[in-house]
Structures are given as C-alpha cells and as structure tokens.
C-alpha cells in the first residue's frame, strides 16, 4: 500500500512472538476489538464508555452469576478447541448443546423416581452419548466430504433439526400442562443439580474444570515439545501438516472421530447444566452459547488454560449485557465476531510486522 511517497509492506519477524509476549499481544488486540465495538455503539447513539463502565459494575455486583454463565461457555469452548486444533471446523456446538438439553429433560421425565445420585449421572452420560452422535456426521463429511468446508456447512445445518426438535417437543409432548405455555414442566426435584448454597453456581463446574485441567495435562502440556498422550501429538500433526501425519501412518479418521466425540459430548454436557442447573425447564429458545463458544475457543488461543480466561471474559460480557439498554441481545455475537477477526489479525502479527519504506 502506498501513502504519499512511503510504501507500507509486511516483513517477516526473525523470531515469531511466543510465550508471555503473545498473551500481551492478544490482550492488546482484544482492546482494539472493544474499541471497534465501541465505535459501532457510538454510531447507534449509545455512549460506549458509560456502557463499558456499566457492564463492569454489573459484573462486580453479580460475580456468582458471571461464574454460573462461565460454566457452559468453558465446556463448549474447550470442546471446540480440540477439533479446531486438528483442523475440524465444528461450528455446530449450538446443536449439540440443544441435544444435551433435550436428553437431560427426556431422561429426567422418563425416570422421575430414580434417586438423584443415580439420575443425575445418568443424565450426563446420556447427554454425552447423544451429543457425540449428533456430531458424527461432521466427521464423515470432514473425512469424505469431497470439498472444502463440508464439515463447516454440515455442522451448522445440524443446528436446525435440533432446534426444531426442541420446538416440537416443548410445544407438544412435554408442554407444561399447568400453564399451557410453550415450555416444559419443571424438572423433578431429584433431577435438579445441587448448587453451591446461596449462589446460582451448579455443581457441574467442578466436573468441567476437572476435565479442562485433565485435557491440559494430557493433550496440551508439552514435555520436550511433545504432549503426554500420543493422541495430543496426533492432533497437533493433523492440524499442522495432515500429509506428514498420513505418511507417518496416523489415521486421520480416528483422530477427528475422537475429537468430535469429545466436542459433541462437551457441548451436550453444557446443555445438561443449563437445563438442570439453571433454567430447570426446557424453553423454546436457546441462549446461543454454541456460537459464542467459537469465539471463546479462539480467544483462548485453543489452549485449555487460555480458554478458562476467555470463557470468564465472555461470561462477563454476557452478564454485562444486562446493563445494556437500547441495544438488543445479539450484541454478544457482535463482540464475538469482532474478537474473532482481531484474534486472527494478532496471529498474523505474531509472525509479521508492518514496515515503511521511503520511495522516490
């Protein structure tokens, strides 16, 4: 690009930015993203500075709520990061999450008399299995789809059958007989997840945090540049150079199958928490966590520890959204979109810088 008689061009850095500098870089780009979102607010006649301060204030008042929102975002974000790392672009977490909600509700209504100590684990297991099954078509299309982006398209299209299935069940089979509104009746008491007393934080936070740390320990933490499990190494290779992996005898299909089963299952587990821990009944609309989860995974740098931080950040945005007046709820997606772009840009500048040269 040319400005007056100066020429702007990109130059490769001698050493790419890594480690703590990369984190600082990411935060700087995140702030740029917030500025851009602020500009969009400004164009809509909303003062961004007051808005941001309000959002922070709401979060400080409602810290337990922020943590409760953080649970599903962490589960979905973590579940997405692993297939993303293996270059499987599952963007249908929303569908798998809805399937999780449906399964939890269905299990609770089928066995209302089981004691909670059996029923609740059963809900989680069933949801994990069905969520994983809902993700299987993505694997088939990724491996045999025949064209670029098949997995993306199919994973997204699978959201809608799940959504309409929920709509159907809620308006027909499971409709609340007492009020007649289009939501299900309350889950039986033994199916409701216990909460930390006095807060809306339900117990699946421990399960999901434990899974996050285990995933970090076994798949992501590098000892001499190699993760502890062979699978972690295979995921890395498949993401960076699938051809090399294939020559080395790795089964691409097996790797993406495992990553997608995990991904679908985690999204479904988030759904269980949402219906059995938060809403306590199935509604007709979904919260859109599945889409936000994509941004959570990328902002976290596809690393479990980073995802914990970025899930907290997005949970804070979600709760801060309560403070917004005159801006619709889709604003969270606006933030997510802008942040994805800035994360992509920051990755470019890990390896390149902009230089200016005078030209005569």
């Amino acid at each position: 690009m040319r400005i007056l008689n100066h020429r702007l061009f990109f130059q490769k850095r001698i050493e790419p930015i890594t480690g703590i500098n990369a984190i600082l870089f990411r935060i700087a780009f995140l702030l740029f993203g917030l500025v851009v979102a602020g500009l969009i607010f400004l164009l809509n006649g909303v003062n961004p500075i007051i808005t941001y301060i309000d959002m922070i204030r709401v979060n400080l008042l409602l810290i337990p709520n922020t943590i409760a929102r953080f649970i599903p975002l962490l589960a979905i974000g973590l579940g997405l990061a692993i297939p993303f790392k293996a270059r499987v672009d599952n963007i249908g977490a929303e569908g798998q999450y809805i399937i999780g909600m449906l399964t939890a509700t269905g299990t609770a209504f089928l066995f209302p008399d089981l004691p909670g100590i059996i029923l609740i684990p059963l809900m989680f297991v069933n949801a994990f299995i069905l969520g994983a099954i809902w993700a299987i078509p993505v694997v088939l299309f990724r491996a045999k789809g025949g064209f670029q982006g098949a997995d993306v398209v199919v994973s997204f299209l699978l959201v809608f059958p799940a959504l309409y299935l929920m709509e159907w069940l809620v308006s027909d089979l499971w409709r609340d007989p007492e009020t007649g509104f289009t939501y299900s009746s309350l889950l039986p008491e033994n199916a409701q997840l216990p909460k930390i007393p006095g807060t809306p934080i339900y117990i699946s936070i421990f399960l999901i945090l434990a899974i996050t740390l285990l995933v970090y320990y076994f798949l992501f933490r590098n000892i001499d540049g190699i993760p502890k499990l062979k699978l972690g190494y295979e995921i890395n290779v498949m993401g960076k150079n699938p051809l090399a992996g294939r020559i080395a005898g790795m089964s691409f299909f097996r790797v993406i199958l495992i990553t997608m089963i995990f991904s679908g299952g985690m999204a479904a587990i988030a759904g269980v928490g949402e219906v059995a821990g938060n809403a306590l009944r199935l509604g007709v609309k979904s919260q859109g966590y599945g889409y936000t989860g994509i941004a959570v995974a990328y902002l976290g740098g596809l690393n479990p520890l980073g995802i914990i931080v970025s899930a907290l950040f997005f949970a804070a945005l979600k709760v801060g959204g309560l403070a917004l007046t005159g801006i619709p709820a889709t604003v969270l997606q606006l933030f997510s979109g802008i942040i994805i772009f800035f994360v992509l840009l920051s990755e470019f500048f890990f390896r390149f810088t902009i230089k200016m040269r005078r030209e005569s």
């Binding site: 969009i40 809509n44 672009d89 963007i91 078509p137 088939l140 299309f141 045999k144 789809g145 025949g146 064209f147 670029q148 982006g149 098949a150 993306v152 398209v153 199919v154 997204f156 299209l157 699978l158 959201v159 809608f160 059958p161 309409y164 299935l165 709509e167 159907w168 308006s171 027909d172 889409y291 994509i294 941004a295 990328y298 801006i327 619709p328 709820a329 889709t330 604003v331 969270l332 997606q333 606006l334 933030f335 997510s336 979109g337 802008i338 994805i340 772009f341 992509l344 840009l345 990755e347 470019f348």
Partner: protein
C-alpha cells in the same frame, strides 16, 4: 385442491433468494476464496436494507444500501484472508457471527413495522403467456435481475478473458502471478462481488420475498447457499438448477402441513441439504470427477507472494 400456479410461483420466489448469493459465491470460490460468511452478510443486509427503506421511504435506496453493506462486510473477509493470509474458514465463521450480531442492532428499530415492499412488475407480452407468464413473470424486479444474471455470469466466467483469469487464479495462483496477473486484486474483486450479491439476496429477502424483518429470519439458509455452490459444481448454470431444487424443498413444507407437525417440516430444507451433500460428497471425492468438473484446486489455500 392445490393452487399449482401459486405453488410454482412461490418456488420461483424462494429460489431467487438462493440464486443471487450463490452466483456471487461462485465467483469468490472460482477465484480461490471460500467465504463462509454468506449467512452473516445476508442477514445483516436484510436488516439494514429494511431499516433504510423504512426510514427513507425509498425502497431502492434500501436495496442499494443492502448491497453496499454486503460489499463492505465481504471486504473485511477479503482483507483478513487475502491481505493478511489468515484461514478463510475461521474468518468466514467470524463474519457470520459478526453479521448476525450486527443485524440485531441494525434492525432493532423496525421489528414488526410494515412498509410497502417491492411491487410485482408486469412485463408486457412475457407476463401474458398463460401459466408460464404467471409463474415466472409476476414477481419483483430483482427476480428478473436474477434471470439475467445467470447467463451473464456464465458468459463472463467461461467466455471472456477476465473469466479465464479468475479461474486460473483459483486453480494455480503462483502460475497466474508469474504471468503478471494481479492475483490479490482479482480475488478482492471477486469476493466483494460475492458480498454485494449476498447483500442483494438479503435485501430481496426482507423487501421482496418475506416483506418483514425479524431477528434470525434467514433460518440458516445462508449456509444452504454454500452447499448450493458445490451442488452447482461452481457453474452459474448449475446454480440456477440447484437454486430451484432447493427452492422447491423450501416451499414444499407449506404443502405438507396437514400430514406432519410444523417443526418437523421446518427441518426439511436443512435435512435435505445434508442428504444432497452426502450424495454429492461421494461423487466429488473422486479426483477424476473433480478434475472433469473443474473444481477450483486452490480453494481456501492462502496465497503468499514469495
């Protein structure tokens, strides 16, 4: 008794919504750029064109601003994926999420508000043909525009110099670059053309087809467009055929209402697209078929000038 003329005519109306963005996306993908942000561009420009048309009371300013927004949004994708050589898949997903978020803000003032939308234009002679005239030539002008665009897009892509350049850039950008073709400029132009066609599709959705604006009104049909490009084998004529097939799926759900519950019928377009893609995927996974069809080889591969 089913009113066949109404049924076929609504298939044409539904198919146009698929056809306009598909033509644009074919150009983008032929030049080697996969733009997964169609859904976002469509929904944002549907909201924007409706809002602008409502506030200015001028439909054509609304349509034009929808096109413009589509172009601007695809420009973001172009900058990220061409100038900064980032993954097109992620950038496209980001664009979809961004567009969905933007649509809520742009359209918040006009939810549930009615305006006079695009009128059906009567074409002398053509509209008077019995049956065919009533089905194909009793629509808003954007539908006629889509008829004209199919042969034009096909002609430019296959019979002109610029079309050959576009296809060669999508096939082998290094070779084209060494021949002195400005790869990035050509790709930018194609992506922005695709964005403008998507914007036009969005404007048609809210101003000519459904005639209202509500959040999430596209119901994921933008993704069907991406599937359509593949079904059309990256050929504008195929896009015409494919759009009408998917338009039929889209309309059929209204005609089976007495047999099946509505939510099940609503799944029909998405489920049929997945099944269609499964069949097509098996066919296209053979390298030989791919080369006969002429699928762009360098699709979604970032081009870094050495």
């Amino acid at each position: 008794m089913v009113d066949y003329i109404l049924m076929f005519s609504s298939i044409v109306a539904a198919a146009t919504f698929f056809l306009l963005p598909t033509l644009g996306e074919i150009y983008a993908e032929r030049s080697g750029i996969l733009n997964l942000g169609i859904e976002g561009m469509i929904i944002a420009s549907a909201a924007f064109s409706y809002a602008i048309a409502y506030s200015t009371q001028n439909l054509w300013i609304g349509v034009l601003s929808g096109m413009l927004l589509g172009g601007v949004l695809s420009g973001i994708h172009a900058i990220i994926s061409i100038t900064f050589t980032r993954t097109q898949v992620v950038s496209g997903i980001g664009l979809t999420i961004l567009g969905t978020g933007l649509s809520g803000i742009l359209g918040r003032g006009v939810i549930g508000k009615a305006i006079d939308t695009l009128e059906n234009v009567h074409i002398p002679f053509l509209s008077d043909i019995p049956f065919i005239g009533e089905i194909f030539f009793d629509h808003p002008i954007l539908v006629y525009f889509s008829y004209i665009m199919v042969p034009i897009c096909w002609f430019i892509l296959y019979k002109t110099r610029i079309g050959i350049l576009i296809r060669s850039v999508g096939e082998n950008p290094e070779a084209a670059y060494n021949q002195g073709v400005n790869v990035n400029l050509l790709r930018f132009a194609c992506v922005i053309f695709g964005g403008m066609m998507s914007g036009l599709g969005g404007a048609y959705l809210s101003l000519g087809y459904l005639n209202f604006w509500s959040e999430g009104m596209t119901q994921g049909r933008g993704w069907i467009v991406i599937a359509l490009v593949v079904v059309a084998l990256w050929n504008p004529l195929g896009a015409f055929l494919g759009s009408y097939i998917f338009g039929t799926f889209d309309v059929m759900k209204y005609y089976f209402q007495q047999f099946l519950p509505t939510p099940v019928l609503k799944m029909a377009p998405h489920v049929s697209t997945i099944l269609f893609l499964a069949i097509w995927g098996i066919i296209l996974s053979r390298q030989k078929v791919k080369s006969i069809v002429g699928a762009p080889t360098s699709l979604a591969v970032p081009f870094e000038k050495s």
